[in-house]
């Protein structure tokens, strides 16, 4: 089984994209590999037509896949494992930038492109990420250079010298945490026996949260998980600070240990057979939250969860 291959393709026009991508996708179909398109609507339509509306080509709108980095990783993970168990040897995926174009969106796209190298590594997936050089802003084109081990041009793959190790790139995306934007409630834990009390406390605080019942459920689960992790692997006391915004539940969980050193932790789907070893909690937390940020302060290590 060929493992993950991650290439960037720069294109100046839709015609150029078709010229580069169609023969590559067709070649895959001919040898029994899958083909998936996750491009702009116009490009999806043009590519599908050029491939003769082949029913084996899966065409997806970008909005169905790209909400945040871990969700996209989970989507591709499930898609490829499903296709492999259905008998495909490999999946060829052509995708275009899909997160929103605000600066936070740029960061999240960079995170996604970086973590793919690690999170999808064991999968028989060959993805070509297509970057529109006319339409995309400079930071996104930079992302293409920094996150792809390979470049594709004129039907040939070459090594990308500008590629940066994903862990290093992610460390560079860490931002200091803003001060809380709302009235803060706090509680402190010293041992796992206090987790049920923490959950009751959260429930009471979130009962009427404007973010809604689903956000309340997700927040209880995510905060419990991070607090339990702090009690187990960090150093107590674990301090929980919660505040509500009109749209989100935000919670800082601080312990006094050394924190989570690996910036890639929790970005890869847990291997069910390795669940005994740990590491699944942060993956779940990232799935449940809109954002998971970490920071070191003089007194400890803080995980900030944003849910809603």
């Amino acid at each position: 089984m060929t493992p993950y291959t991650h290439e960037a393709l720069f294109f100046p026009s839709s015609g150029a994209l078709l010229d580069a991508a169609v023969p590559w996708l067709r070649e895959g179909l001919q040898v029994g590999e899958g083909a998936v398109l996750v491009c702009t609507e116009d490009n999806n339509t043009a590519l599908a037509a050029a491939l003769g509306e082949d029913p084996r080509v899966l065409v997806l709108p970008r909005a169905a896949v790209y909400r945040k980095a871990v969700d996209a990783v989970a989507f591709y993970h499930d898609l490829v494992t499903g296709r492999v168990s259905a008998g495909q040897r490999r999946v060829r995926l052509l995708g275009e930038v899909g997160f929103d174009t605000r600066p936070q969106g740029h960061d999240e796209w960079r995170r996604f492109e970086a973590v793919c190298n690690h999170a999808l590594a064991p999968l028989p997936l060959w993805s070509v990420c297509a970057y529109d050089t006319r339409a995309l802003p400079g930071p996104l084109l930079d992302t293409a250079w920094l996150t792809h081990p390979w470049l594709r041009a004129d039907g040939v793959r070459t090594l990308n010298g500008a590629f940066i190790e994903p862990a290093r790139l992610l460390m560079g995306l860490r931002r200091p945490l803003d001060p809380p934007a709302g009235a803060v409630s706090t509680v402190s834990l010293t041992q796992p026996g206090e987790l049920p009390e923490l959950r009751r406390w959260l429930r009471a605080k979130l009962d009427a949260a404007p973010a809604g019942a689903q956000a309340a459920d997700d927040a209880v689960l995510a905060v419990d998980e991070v607090a339990a992790n702090g009690l187990r692997h960090g150093r107590p006391p674990v301090e929980v600070a919660l505040w509500l915004t009109p749209t989100h539940v935000v919670c800082d969980i601080t312990d006094h240990g050394t924190g989570i050193a690996d910036p890639l932790a929790g970005y890869a789907p847990p291997d069910p057979l390795q669940l005994l070893e740990g590491g699944a909690g942060l993956w779940m937390t990232r799935r449940l939250c809109v954002d998971v940020a970490t920071a070191w302060t003089p007194t400890g290590f803080t995980v900030r969860l944003t849910v809603g």
Binding site: G193, P196, A228, P272, L275, G281
Partner: protein
Amino acid sequence: MNGLAQPGQERQGHVALVYCTPATRDERLAEFVGTGLQRGERVVLMADADDHTWQVPLALRGVDTSGAARDGSLTTLDPPGFYPAQGQAALVDRMLETGCPGLRLAAHAEAALGYLGEAGYRRVEQEMEHLCATRPVTLLCQLQAGTALGDEPVPFLPAVIDAHRHALHGPCVTIFRFPHGVHLTGALDLDCGGLVEAVLRRAGQDAAADGVRTETIEVDLAELDFMDVAGFRALLRGTAQWRGRGGTLVLTGAHGLVGRVIEIVGGEGRGGVVLR
């Protein structure tokens, strides 16, 4: 609902409480004793005659210990009195003859095991199981042990687990055994994970020792309202050996947050784990 069963809702009269902190024990014991006294039952605690340390924690939690001691509804027996040579039936029947509507007994498993030895303890617990099923008797056995995932197991835990198939209370979870499975109520989190893991391990050993070949262990999650990843890991760890021998862990009734954890973390359909 993480407490002991409410009056009238007790599934079985023979229950165990495994706790890590004395505060948890005191709270549950006060509830147990208070409920009995309220109903006019006789309550007997296992304690040495000169040991009064149990009184203050109960009184602080609203149990009228001095009043109950005065009118004889609350008494203590030392281990030889609690476990008479003639057997438990003699003791229980003598107390019930006084005309009270029921009898509540509370004992420390560690003291009982120390006095009776493991084989004796298992025999007495079996007799108590029968007495609780045939007479208005409730027995609460308490054992102090780490219940969190990763805690070092205490040597007495397997004997206590085996003796209390019907209701084993942890700090926030209650475990009911049935043939080839367990039913969980409450919350399965990091703090209870070690206890649930230990029970599943016993269930796997039982199933392996069973004359009839059993291929599955079922964990009924229908009445579980919370589970975190450590809790889920406890289910996997507790059945790892069993699954390694070709057995299957069947998870049933997962819903709400519990279902969400399984869905996100995965594990279903691989390594002998099936969701139903």
